[in-house]
């Protein structure tokens, strides 16, 4: 399988994997650095959208347009539908609990 992949395609696969890794890394950094639940929800969903998005794009490229490749495209689609729903559920729960978003000058929580 792997030897059938041309150099251009291989380069694209590597680029997409690296991009996926980069955005996952950014997202992780954000979860650690940001001050409250709302801002963390922003960046946590970032890992899903572009982190997982680019990684699955790389998988789809590597696997070709059958079976696995097709399913990974569907996976991207589902992540794009479910991820904002989950982020919204977390944020809404926090809001309903009376959790006021962090603003400039507040203490980290």
């Amino acid at each position: 399988m792997i030897d059938a992949i041309g150099p251009a395609r291989l380069a694209l696969i590597v680029a997409f994997s690296l991009l996926g890794l980069f955005f996952t890394f950014v997202s992780m950094t954000g979860v650690i650095r940001l001050p409250d639940v709302y801002s963390r929800a922003h960046t946590a969903s970032q890992a899903d959208t572009l982190g997982a998005g680019f990684t699955l794009a790389a998988v789809a490229l590597a696997a070709g347009w059958q079976g696995v490749g097709f399913k990974s495209v569907l996976l991207v689609f589902f992540i794009f539908v479910t991820n904002p729903t989950a982020a919204h559920a977390i944020a809404r729960a926090a809001f309903e609990q009376g959790n006021v978003p962090w603003t400039e000058g507040d203490e980290r929580r």
């Binding site: 922003h42 970032q46 904002p84 982020a87 944020a91 009376g98 006021v100 603003t103 000058g105 203490e107």
Partner: protein, 399 residues
């Protein structure tokens, strides 16, 4: 049925939420009979609007509701004529559409609108058609009866014969919504499995049937229209690359902010009153906003989206309303997309920070007890809420 003893002096008004159900006809008859017994002097048949007054493209839905209300009043008149009683001469039948000011989400919102209408018209009783389920309210969600029990309104169900479970199932199973949900689920199942393998085929039909029976009324709040759905899907296909581009751009901006050692964030909670239409359009918009890093939909309330923004850049983008415009384009076409931006309409507000334009909304301003003000004032909620007065002697900067 009311007791014979107190029926004579108590001639109040009654509110009846209606939609097109098999038992609606019988419910109308029951109400007219109750009125003839002297229980009610005025009957209000109301329909909840599934649109908001300034939405684009609502003529079709409004016309359907008007037809329903017209049918109800015709029935009521016919029944009044049938009742051979002097008492009914002064029975008043009113029809109305409520809730067209705001988007309604779930049982609580419906009940709030209903209670407000009842107060305005001096009604103390609500009679429910046993088959009545407002849009999106099914047995899986919080039932309307439960939400109604928290109000001062007296609630009862009209004692009419309901169709048997089997009849209802048969009726539902032949509906367009059912067929659409079933077909879509089956197609998806077979796309993952192997359409030629009998086991996949059989289990696919079974699972699609279960999905369609339980969810067809939740997933689709109206029958999909043959003329409109394909063009919406087509416009949706145009929207996806545009959305991906937005996501990529804001991801890069947010990534730079997060990796910046100074962490230059300025998060605020904001409000946008959007014009897109209830149900699927507003869900699409809220999801798109959340998908774009830097903005996060926290709450949809009274037609407002409460959106948390991480940086002012994301907030400005939100107020410029490009996603709102795209959503309108997908659902209503190019005409509707050209409405002014939320900022131009003055439909925006900032709740926090130095640029705040509006008071921070309590968590449950619609009936709860715990608002931001009391949580902050008594300070008992640990470090969760610290008043901004602490700014001055705040020596520690966020790491």
């Amino acid at each position: 049925m009311a007791d014979a003893g107190d029926s004579a002096p108590k001639r109040g008004s009654v509110v009846v939420p209606v939609e097109s159900t098999p038992t609606l006809r019988a419910t109308v008859t029951h109400l007219i009979e109750s009125a003839a017994d002297g229980e009610f002097s005025s009957i209000h048949f109301v329909v909840f609007a599934t649109w908001r007054r300034d939405d684009p493209d609502t003529a079709g839905r409004e016309a359907a509701v008007d037809r329903l209300l017209e049918r109800v009043s015709t029935w009521a008149e016919a029944d009044l004529a049938d009742v051979d009683d002097a008492d009914v001469d002064d029975v008043e039948v009113v029809t109305a559409v409520v809730g067209a000011d705001e988007y309604l989400f779930g049982a609580d919102d419906y009940v709030r609108e209903l209670a407000a209408y009842a107060d305005d018209h001096g009604a103390e009783t609500v009679v429910l058609d046993p088959e009545y389920t407002p849009v999106g309210n099914t047995t899986l969600l919080q039932p309307l009866e439960f939400a109604l029990s928290n109000t001062h309104l007296a609630v009862r169900e009209a004692p009419v014969t309901r169709p048997t479970r089997r009849e209802r199932l048969r009726k539902e199973a032949t509906g367009i919504r059912f067929a659409a949900t079933f077909g879509l689920s089956l197609a998806f199942y077979l796309a993952l499995g192997d359409p030629l393998y009998p086991f996949d085929l059989a289990s696919g039909v079974a699972s699609a049937a279960i999905v369609a029976i339980t969810l067809s009324r939740i997933s689709l709040d109206a029958n999909p229209s043959i003329s409109r759905t394909p063009i919406r899907l087509l416009r949706g296909a145009v929207y996806v690359p545009a959305l991906l581009y937005e996501i990529l751009m804001s991801n890069l901006v947010v990534a730079r902010v997060i990796l910046d050692p100074r962490l230059p964030i300025d998060p605020t909670l904001n409000r946008v009153r959007v014009i897109v239409g209830s149900g699927l359009p507003i869900t699409t918009l809220a999801n798109s906003i959340t998908l774009t890093p830097g903005t996060l939909t926290v709450r949809a309330r009274d037609g407002n989206l409460y959106v948390h923004s991480l940086i002012p850049w994301a907030r400005e983008g939100l107020f410029d309303g490009s996603l709102e415009r795209w959503t309108r384009f997908v659902f209503y076409g190019r005409e509707a997309a050209r409405l002014p931006t939320p900022r131009e309409r003055d439909d925006v507000g900032i709740f926090q920070g130095p640029d705040a334009t509006e008071e921070y909304p309590g968590a449950r301003s619609d009936g709860g007890t715990r608002g931001e003000s009391d949580a902050g004032a008594d300070g008992s909620t640990a470090e969760a809420v610290e008043p901004n007065a602490a700014d001055a002697d705040e020596g520690v900067t966020p790491e």
